[in-house]
Amino acid sequence: MWQSWQRLKWWVSGGILLSLAGAVLLARLSLDEQRALFETDARIVHRLLSQQVVQHDAMLATLALLQPVPDSSSGASSPEQRLPVLYPQILSVQRRDPEQRWSDPLLTQAETRSRQVRRAALGALDLPAGRYQLVLAATPTSYALTIDARAMVPWSEWPMQADTSPVRVTLEHDGQQYVVQPGAALDDRPSRGWHFAFHKLLAAESQPFDVVATLSVGWGQLPWGLMLIWVLGVTALLATLHHLQRQRSARRRAEELLRLGQVARLNTLGELAAGMAHELNQPLTAVLANTQAAQRLLNEDPPELATARNAMLQAAAQARRAAEVVGRLRQTVERPDRSGQHQPVAAVEAVRRALYLLEPECQRRDVAPVLDAPQAVTLLADPVALDQIVHNLILNALQALEQVPAAQRQLKLTVSAQQRRGEITVADNGPGIPPEVLPRLFEPFFSTRKDGLGLGLSLCESLANGMGGSLDATNAPEGGAVFRLQLPLAEGLP
């Protein structure tokens, strides 16, 4: 019991380890995949936004190059004013004509910076609202763009579903932040789990906004379903293996026990025979010696009658001693009454048990036993004795079949019932029983096999008789031996 628990412990811990390792691997693979997807999306977002802001630089440069047409100074029909119509992200275009000043001092500062760095510079910045100004210093007229970041995002090319994607995308600069895509709400974001982040400045020096993309994957987003399937699969596999192994070892044990039992029986019989031989040989030696001495004494001339008479008395006494030895032996060996052990036994089960135990023997001889049991038969028997009889009969048949070519060997077992008796027959197509052997078949110590003790069938018959049944043997008309075991049916049962 303890041993089996120890073994089970190994199986369980092995199963847990294998499940864990597989689950971790699955989670790892899923996270890696999500990270790769996230990074690809973030890169696309960065490229799309960069393409947009670079356009602003190009617009300002074009305006600065063209400079205002001198006679259209009225302003209403200036070409730059058509830009917001073409580009929705351009909210308005301002210009500072020569000798004039910007209305907004921030624009003045930006122009000064722009002149220094020789490229566009940021003016007023209101990222939370998505607005900013971009100024390019030029001579004589400088231009400024007011840009709406919201309209700048090319949603048609956007790699994610803006309203449902868990990825948060923001533009950040100077402590301000514009949320391009909110992603999962802050409250919904898992505090524990895995956090992926992407930071990259827009590819336009004039608008150095940091594109920040973040994604949080919580425990809940791990591929639990897949992991569960894995664990269940491992458990099922291990359980099957364990079951198979146990079945195999149980069977090995049963075979071992059977073999040991046979060896032990043989040893016991050997001891018994040796003891019996000595016990009987002593008086027999005395009987023989005395009678032969008497014979010699009577043959003498003149015969020594007195001594011869005494020798004969001795011989008779020793013959009685031999008879007593036999009597004592029978008392010792006689089986105790086991009728109390009788119980209902399914005949088919007894046959199946014996076939199962003898399967290796059958395979070794290429014999495929056929079991014919058209109806359930419940016998009243001692299960151990019944098993032993069936086992012996099948083994006997297998040994007889060795004298038949392997391809022709047949072994048929039949379970049937008639009136108040159940019947198990074991039929082989071996050489059958020689007619001169048939009457002595169940005699103790009678065997046709060279190494046989001649106790197997004798024991089977006494066991069958002890259960109120019978065992008989015949030769089938088509050849081969048929052994028929009849036992009483259990009452009230089919």
């Binding site: 000595h278 002593q282 030696t285 005395a286 009987v287 010696a289 032969q292 001495a293 010699r296 003498e300």
Partner: protein, 219 residues
């Protein structure tokens, strides 16, 4: 052969723990005129039996306390020359082989048939008597041979080789007359009635003597 046993007739020691077997076999063996000395206890037998007497030993293999085979081993180890006949109730080939290897003269199964046992016993006794006689003759010859002088032994050796007196005298640097005297003396000392008898009884002794003394003589 059915003469009444006397004290000088061969004795069969019968060792078996079973009284009935001892009685029956004893009676049977007695019918051929052999004296039977029964023993119920193997230890008592080993301690007390007459090792010098003529006869044989009949030993049961299976006895309480000590096995017949180990009794046999003890007898052989002690140099007992009386032949041993083993009896067993259930003899296996293996046990039989062990018994013969240990020096048993015969191995019989119980219950034993009278003719087999008696014939084995008579053979054993005859063999024992003969071996005792041979030993006795050998011992006497050795004693007489020991009385010879060095020169007489040399002469004997050459006689056994088939040399004439003249040739012996030449070989030993003696006159034929002196050789003749030695020859007469050694015939008398060895009590040999003829040359043939002399050679038969003493050739072996001379050879043995040569084997031991020859090496030293030529060195």
């Amino acid at each position: 052969m059915s003469a009444a046993p006397d004290t000088l007739s061969p004795t069969v020691h019968l060792i078996d723990d079973d009284q009935a077997v001892r009685d029956g076999l004893g009676l049977l063996i007695g019918t051929v005129g052999l004296r039977v000395q029964p023993w119920s206890d193997p230890q008592a037998f080993l301690g007390n039996f007459d090792r010098e007497g003529i006869g044989a030993i009949v030993l049961d293999v299976r006895m309480p306390g000590i096995s017949g085979l180990s009794v046999l081993d003890t007898l052989v180890a002690q140099g007992v020359d009386q032949p041993v006949i083993m009896l067993t109730g259930h003899g296996t080939v293996d046990m039989c082989r062990r018994a013969f290897k240990a020096g048993a003269a015969e191995f019989l199964e119980k219950p034993v048939n009278d003719e087999a046992l008696l014939e084995a016993l008579q053979n054993a006794v005859r063999q024992h008597v003969r071996s005792r006689q041979r030993n006795e003759a050998d011992r006497a010859a050795r004693e007489r041979y020991a009385q010879l002088s060095e020169r007489e032994r040399e002469v004997l050796g050459l006689i056994v080789e088939g040399l004439t007196n003249k040739e012996i005298g030449r070989a030993l640097g003696l006159s034929p007359r002196t050789v003749e005297t030695h020859r007469a003396n050694l015939f008398a000392k060895l009590q040999a009635p003829s040359l043939a008898q002399l050679i038969r009884h003493y050739a072996a002794l001379v050879d043995a003597d040569d084997g031991t003394a020859g090496g030293g003589g030529t060195a």
